[in-house]
């Protein structure tokens, strides 16, 4: 039974993630529609429920075009390199006290390390297309993802210091009384901003700024290769929202001792809140300029994250605060 679950589990997770992506796209369009006073997709199926299915079907039966001057092998490799890490990071995610695939000691660092591989896929995709807009989009994306990865990693150091472990299970277990969103509020704010940027979403969607770069690094891609880039983006939303829940919102722990709901339900509720927040931000904020983007990462977020580390180490020694740090 256990061996069967070991092999079938990832397949089931893949289907759950694909289902999530299908309806996350629809929910995003609906939510943004409502915020902007529109109805959103409502023609395909009841309440537009089959809209994304139709979109994906259209992408899959499209002609697979590769530009004449493109580097063919790298052009084909790039979507795979972008997608595989996005699914691989889910291996260490503890969805509840029992549902987890790999309980490794350095789970948090594993997430950060594997997710950086996606940048290579985006860069190659931009370069191999042999198109100046794709190249510019790829360059912007790499610069942005490298810059924001540093505050992202540093913002969670406070949690690592508090728990004394990089294991995601131990981080969740340490939040049984207080969620880290309260003592680590600076780290939380930095983490949320940096994660929105890592996800390449508005207000940080410069790599694919459609009004200035056509579509950024995937301008030459069509059909299922384009779908793979989009899939990677939405699987990262899944992964990043799970990580936010695990690190700052207490994972599967129930708030106020409301344990009549099982842990996985609490996880899903918190996870859905984080995903909704991402849609909300996208519908509200305008895109920031490329020079502001870099300045913001290096001159605002990085010092804040460093200050958070210093404050955490100091408060760890103060008598009253040792309860929380």
């Amino acid at each position: 039974m256990d061996a069967l679950l070991l092999y079938l589990g990832p397949v089931i997770l893949l289907f759950i993630v694909l289902g999530f992506v299908t309806y996350a796209i629809l929910a995003e369009r609906k939510v943004i529609g409502w915020i902007q006073g529109r109805i959103g997709p409502n023609q395909v199926g009841p309440w537009g429920l089959l809209q994304t299915v139709a979109d994906i079907l259209k992408l899959l039966i499209k002609e697979d075009t590769i530009p004449k001057n493109a580097d063919r092998s790298l052009f084909k490799l790039a979507p795979i390199l972008a997608f595989v890490p996005s699914f691989a990071v889910l291996a260490v995610m503890p969805f509840s006290s029992r549902i987890q695939f790999a309980n490794i000691g350095v789970g948090l660092l594993y997430y950060m390390a594997i997710s950086s591989i996606t940048t290579i896929g985006i860069l190659i995709g931009g370069w191999a297309s042999n198109n100046k807009y794709a190249l510019l989009g790829g360059m912007r994306s790499a610069a942005q993802m490298i810059s924001y990865e540093i505050p992202l990693v540093l913002s969670v150091v406070g949690i690592v210091l508090t728990v004394g472990s990089l294991n995601l299970n131990e981080i969740v277990a340490a939040q049984q009384k207080t969620w880290f969103v309260f003592p680590q509020i600076i780290g939380f704010v930095v983490f949320i901003i940096a994660s929105v940027s890592e996800l390449n979403r508005t207000p940080f969607d410069l790599p694919e700024a459609e009004s200035e770069l056509v579509a950024g690094y995937h301008v030459e891609y069509s059909g299922f290769r384009f779908a793979f880039f989009m899939l990677a983006e939405y699987v990262y939303i899944f992964a990043m929202s799970s990580l936010t829940t695990v690190l700052f919102l207490g994972g599967w722990n129930a708030p106020f001792g409301l344990t009549f709901l099982p842990g996985i339900v609490w996880f899903i509720i918190k996870f859905a809140l984080v995903v909704f927040f991402l849609y909300w931000v996208r519908a509200t904020m305008p895109r920031i300029r490329v020079d502001q983007l870099m300045q913001f990462a290096w001159k605002v977020l990085l010092p804040l994250a460093l200050a958070n580390i210093v404050i955490t180490t100091l408060l760890k020694e103060v008598p009253f605060f040792t309860l929380y740090y």
Partner: protein, 165 residues
């Protein structure tokens, strides 16, 4: 043949294959990708040796950071640029001599180290253990390495400044 041996064979073939592709590629971009592939396979071998922290850091710094930096630099060059001209004959002989001496040194070190004695049960070191050894026992070399990196960083800034003028 157990699973560990199987995984090791695949990973080592990947690592060596990446290195061979690196040497045989014509385009610089392909070289960078194959190098990243080799780095990633090495991380897999570290995982097999139960050095989780080392494996993850290998992915984070080599497969992630350094590869992206190289690709980023290469992207700014023209993609049409073909292979550089063949190097001189004596140059190749020097390379061969260096490689052979390097191989001999590595082999001597391997045979002198107690790898071939039956190993006792090794537990994988935790991050705490690595950290405390690094910051207590090897604090001075660690700080010296960070000063070296800082000097390199300042050097890069100075070079970039000079080019601007």
């Amino acid at each position: 043949m157990n699973a560990e041996f199987f995984a090791f064979s695949i990973l080592s073939v990947f690592a060596i294959g990446g290195a061979v592709f690196f040497l045989n590629s014509v385009r610089v971009m392909h070289m960078a990708i194959s190098l990243a592939f080799t780095f990633f396979s090495l991380a897999g071998i570290y995982f097999l040796l139960q050095a989780e922290f080392l494996a993850v850091v290998q992915v984070l710094i080599y497969a992630g950071g350094i590869s992206i930096l190289m690709i980023f630099g290469i992207m700014l060059t023209k993609p049409e640029e073909g292979s550089p001209g063949r190097s001189f004959q004596y140059h190749q002989w020097i390379s061969l001599a260096t490689i052979i001496s390097f191989f001999v040194i590595i082999m001597v070190i391997i045979y002198q180290s107690p790898i071939f004695t039956p190993a006792e049960k090794v537990s994988s070191p935790s991050v705490q253990q690595i950290g405390s050894i690094l910051f207590k026992q090897y604090a001075i070399p660690f700080e010296l390495a960070s000063i070296l990196l800082l000097v390199a960083l300042i050097g890069a800034i100075v070079l970039a400044r000079k080019e601007q003028k």
